[in-house]
């Protein structure tokens, strides 16, 4: 009998081992073709004309010179005279020409005049916002009374600015309209191959089945690439307008940084109270932030700790900037940084080691309490926390050292997904699924699950993804992909194997429930001599291929166990050196201990944690979108001034994944997001530990550190 549930630890051959990503060689040799690399015969190159103002009305638009420009094949007005533009760099006109240089020249020849209108781009000062939207207040217990009764209270302001996704491969696509067949083929840099086809179809007026979306490789999304985007629709339309010639439109870096994705800011005034022994009792917070014109998400406050008496209210400030997009673990890094900073300040006021403070409040940690406590113990050992922690401040000389910690949580249950596994008469196995690899190793995970299930070597399984014509699968967001695709692939492979067993049993003179698939053979359990090779078994189906399918979730009423779980907890610790004369913060070491249920590929899973740590370090030390108050434009729309951490800025990184009994049986849980939540909080607490002064506003640049040292307690403004 083939069980659908994941094989037990002793029966796993590939699951949970270290497998190198299967498309690694293609990427490392430059042969992997990304959307930006797609070249189609006769392809045109398109360029956008953007609005230079943050808020304006178009008063004049003349594209005649652009149309007459050499090499130009089509010009599309995206927003015409009278249109009100709500953020700088919004798209106005699209031109397509034979070469990129000609398209650039034509774009420059477009004449647009504007009536400039008043704008608001300040998200830091709640009291100066012309408009705010208050979210519903969250309330539990009697926070004011509990606060008044608290033996120790701490009050502070903290904040995180808007940061960008800054995907290395910009947003963009190659669109090819076929007028004769009324079809559209779109090569897109996307996190949602399957969902994009109907999005395009609806916007360009085609039946969904007539749109074919392809994405074999994509250069980073981080939550910003779920939409066909207006520029994508316009690219499809300009291909139609040009008579069905393929058109490539990729955003340039300025556009990528300005309009293609933001993480909302979050600022908060927080008061938190505890009993003298450190038991948390009260929380009162007012938070605000902006995610552009559409407002902002609401950070979860208080984060992780379910403080019994709590009140939180959040205000969203609309600004004249492009709307924010989901950014890796939406709202959690903000909720985490704000909460963990406030709680760390309280622990300092209590004179407690933050590690002891967390343990003291074990009862408030919710369903993941046990996980956190186990993880804290491991992190403590890996960082040498207990041996080296000292109270805030002190230290000799200009460079001082500090330790900080943080906790986080995430869901990560698998998304809706379907997979088909086809067995050819020659024994070859191919899986198809309309998912995508956003850098996490999706192909590899699929191959591991299917090869493990069928008892085949990894290289015998061919995995096809990145095509909307394959069986549908969800977008890669919310850390839902690994659970969704591995559960679907497991069920498809199990169904395929059941078909094989049904055929093989008579040939082996037994019943299907006594068969097993081992080492490329189908054999009677315990009798290695009574076996068929995989190829012999496949040949039993005659000369036609057979296909089995599987999905996630399992059909309702199937009685099947869940293959994917939800609710991952993680603990991180940071050690920093801060030069208190220059304000330069250096990461010495970071430890990440993370739970993610059953690990499919340990190597790529660890890479997700390393990557998340590094992205978190980058946001903590360097990242911030800087808007000019007078013009409302983004001042740091390039790699030089939108700063990110480089290879020399990350310190020593230690990653530990929780595996084994107590973790594996929870099923596969997504990992891409949770470890990016805590780094800034842990680093911020380490900086406070080093300096004896809270640096409340990210990123921890010399400016922010020295400002905080000069006027401690000034807060974020």
């Amino acid at each position: 009998m083939v069980e659908t549930s994941w094989p037990k630890a002793e029966a796993r051959r590939l699951l949970g081992t270290r497998v190198s990503r299967l498309d690694g060689p293609a990427k490392v040799t430059g042969t992997a073709k990304y959307t930006y690399d797609v070249a189609r015969p006769g392809m045109l190159h398109a360029r956008l004309v953007h609005c230079p103002h943050a808020h304006a009305r178009i008063t004049k638009l003349d594209v005649s010179a652009a149309q007459a420009s050499p090499g130009v094949k089509a010009v599309r007005v995206i927003q015409g005279v009278g249109a009100e533009i709500q953020w700088a760099h919004d798209e106005i006109v699209l031109v397509a020409a034979a070469t990129g240089e000609e398209a650039e020249d034509a774009a420059r020849a477009v004449v647009v005049e504007y009536e400039v209108l008043a704008h608001h781009v300040d998200d830091l000062h709640l009291d100066q916002a012309p408009e705010t939207r208050a979210e519903e207040e969250e309330l539990a217990g009697e926070p004011e009374k509990a606060m008044a009764e608290a033996a120790v209270r701490s009050k502070g302001t903290y904040g995180l600015p808007v940061i960008a996704h800054n995907c290395l491969e910009p947003h963009g696509q190659v669109c090819e309209w076929n007028a004769a067949k009324d079809t559209l083929t779109a090569h897109c840099s996307t996190q949602a191959v399957a969902a994009l086809a109907p999005q395009f179809a609806e916007r360009v007026g085609l039946p969904a089945g007539n749109v074919h979306v392809i994405c074999q490789y994509m250069g980073g999304g981080f939550g910003s690439k779920f939409s066909a985007d207006r520029w994508g629709i316009e690219c499809a339309e300009i291909s139609r307008q040009a008579g069905g010639v393929p058109v490539k439109l990729m955003l340039d870096r300025r556009a990528e940084l300005t309009i293609a994705g933001d993480r909302p800011s979050a600022y908060a005034e927080i008061e938190v109270g505890a009993q003298a022994d450190g038991t948390l009792t009260a929380w009162i917070s007012k938070s605000w932030g902006s995610g552009g014109l559409g407002g902002s998400g609401r950070p979860p406050l208080p984060y992780v700790f379910q403080i019994p008496h709590r009140r939180s209210v959040h205000h969203s400030i609309p600004t004249h900037t492009a709307s924010s997009r989901a950014w890796r673990a939406p709202n959690h890094p903000q909720g985490c940084y704000l909460s963990m900073s406030a709680l760390d300040d309280l622990a300092a006021r209590l004179g407690m080691d933050p590690l002891a403070f967390v343990r003291k409040n074990e009862a408030l940690l919710g369903p993941l309490a046990k996980t956190y406590l186990e993880e804290l113990e491991i992190a403590d050992r890996l960082m040498g926390w207990s041996a080296r922690w000292k109270p805030r401040g002190g230290g000799k000389g200009p460079v001082v050292r500090g330790l900080g910690l943080s906790l986080h949580m995430w869901g990560g249950s698998g998304h809706r997904s379907s997979c088909e596994v086809t067995l050819q008469p020659d024994g070859s196995v191919e899986a198809k699924i309309a998912t995508q690899d956003i850098g996490t190793g999706t192909r590899t995970v699929l191959a591991i699950v299917i090869a493990e299930t069928l008892g085949l070597p990894l290289e015998e399984v061919r995995v096809q993804i990145g095509d909307s014509r394959y069986p549908a699968s969800g977008g890669s967001g919310g850390s839902t992909t690994v659970g969704g695709v591995s559960a679907a692939a497991r069920r498809a492979a199990v169904n395929a194997l059941r078909m094989v067993f049904d055929k093989a049993a008579p040939a082996l003179g037994t019943t299907p429930d006594l068969l097993e698939a081992v080492d490329g053979s189908i054999r009677v359990q315990g009798e290695p001599g009574r076996a068929l090779t995989w190829r012999q078994a496949a040949a039993l189906f005659g000369r036609a291929p057979v296909t089995a399918t599987g999905g996630n979730p399992a059909p309702s009423g199937s009685g099947e166990l869940e293959l994917t779980g939800s609710g991952a907890g993680g603990v991180q610790m940071a050690e920093v050196d801060v030069d208190r004369e220059t304000g330069v913060v250096k990461i010495r070491k970071m430890v990440a201990v993370q739970d993610c249920g059953l690990v499919v590929d340990l190597k790529t899973a660890e890479s997700q944690v390393y990557g998340a740590l590094i992205m978190g370090i980058s946001s903590a030390l360097a990242e911030e979108k800087v808007l000019d108050p007078v013009t409302g434009t983004l001042l740091n729309a390039d790699f030089e001034s939108y700063k990110m951490a480089g290879i020399g800025d990350i310190g020593e990184l230690v990653v530990h994944l929780m595996t084994g009994p107590g973790y594996d049986e929870r099923g596969v849980i997504g990992l891409g997001e949770p470890p990016v939540i805590s780094p800034a909080a842990a680093i911020g607490n380490a900086v406070a530990n080093a300096l004896g002064v809270r640096v409340p506003l990210l990123p921890f640049t010399p400016q922010r550190v020295l400002d905080a040292l000069e006027s401690p307690g000034r807060g974020i403004v």
């Binding site: 650039e104 004369e581 304000g583 390039d638 010399p702 020295l706």
Partner: protein, 333 residues
């Protein structure tokens, strides 16, 4: 990039002629790392590029010559990687070689030239966003009203608020380097310090380069016993611009400073010589207290803008640490 035409002269005179023939509309292409970025952003829009990479034989500008008596003659097209790798420079002026070796990243150092580094345009994000070098709108500075965290704290009485970008210039000025300029009227040699000027109106350049004039050579005398130290405050280990730098060169006599040069970078629109610190140091023995006092004097006249107060502290610390580095008192750092 807008279209342009391209010439690759074989002689220096041809280069000057080609530039002079189209004043204001031609640009010199050396390593290209700064110029091409500016052109792609439409910040500068030359109609002609005159490449210096084709200069032949005696006209080549990629050379590094040393004599014990006169020191170094370094061609303007010598790359930063060349400087960093030069054995003779590392022995004679290690601080210069080290500064060149930690600028930017290897890809830049392999193409960026000494001349290009000294003549590069400011990194001011208003300038790079196309608001002009002085970034004025309706007579008011966008920098003063806006985000000036990276801008000038000294020499910022207006209208220029950007900071000078070269990290090499302060240390070379501290070492009394000179540059040779070749133009239609012939050659002139000026102290490097004099290459930099405050632009007073939009369209003026921050370098004293006449029409058709190119920087051909850097001249750097022997170390002659000077004690030299630099300090750079930079946020990232990887490719990043300095937030503040200081370079000091001290001529000593009987344990006392006979002559001091104290030059700051990235704090003013031009490399900033602190005469106050220099005259204070003259005649002194350097200890921590003297370094502290000199550093204080160096930023005494600083006038921070709304968001760059922290740079006063950075500049002060940079001067102090450069002095301690020059005199070997920096062991605790």
């Amino acid at each position: 990039m807008r279209p342009f035409d391209y010439a690759r002269p074989a002689t220096r005179e041809q280069a000057v002629q080609l530039l002079a023939a189209t004043p204001g509309r031609a640009a010199v292409l050396a390593g290209g790392s700064d110029l091409l970025a500016l052109m792609k952003d439409g910040v500068v829009t030359p109609e002609r590029l005159v490449s210096l990479q084709g200069l032949q034989g005696d006209h080549t500008l990629r050379f590094l010559r040393y004599t014990a008596a006169a020191g170094f003659r370094i061609g303007a097209l010598t790359t930063l990687a060349d400087l960093a790798a030069s054995e003779v420079l590392r022995l004679e002026h290690p601080v210069v070689a080290e500064t060149a070796g930690r600028l930017a990243g290897p890809q830049i150092r392999n193409v960026a030239t000494v001349g290009g580094n000294l003549c590069q345009r400011p990194r001011c994000w208003y300038f790079r966003s196309g608001f002009g070098l002085l970034a004025a709108r309706e007579g008011a500075s966008l920098v003063v009203a806006g985000d000036n965290r990276h801008h000038a704290i000294l020499g910022n009485d207006g209208p220029a608020y950007f900071v000078t970008p070269s990290t090499l210039a302060p240390v070379l000025i501290a070492l009394d380097a000179e540059v040779v300029l070749l133009g239609p009227q012939g050659e002139r040699t000026i102290p490097l310090e004099k290459l930099y000027r405050l632009p007073l109106a939009e369209g003026e350049r921050e370098h004293d380069l006449g029409p058709g004039e190119i920087l051909t050579e850097l001249q750097l005398g022997p170390a002659a016993g000077r004690q030299v130290g630099t300090w750079e405050v930079r946020q990232r280990e990887t490719l990043d611009w300095s937030l503040a730098t200081a370079a000091v060169a001290l001529e000593m006599e009987d344990g006392r400073v006979k002559r001091a040069r104290v030059v700051l970078g990235q704090v003013a629109p031009l490399p900033w010589t602190s005469r106050e610190a220099e005259s204070f140091l003259t005649g002194k023995t350097i200890d921590e207290a003297a370094a502290d006092e000199a550093a204080k004097l160096a930023v005494q006249g600083a006038k921070p803008l709304s968001k760059n107060r922290y740079k006063v502290q950075l500049a002060r610390v940079a001067v102090r640490r450069a002095l301690l580095a020059a005199t070997g008192l920096d062991r605790e750092l």
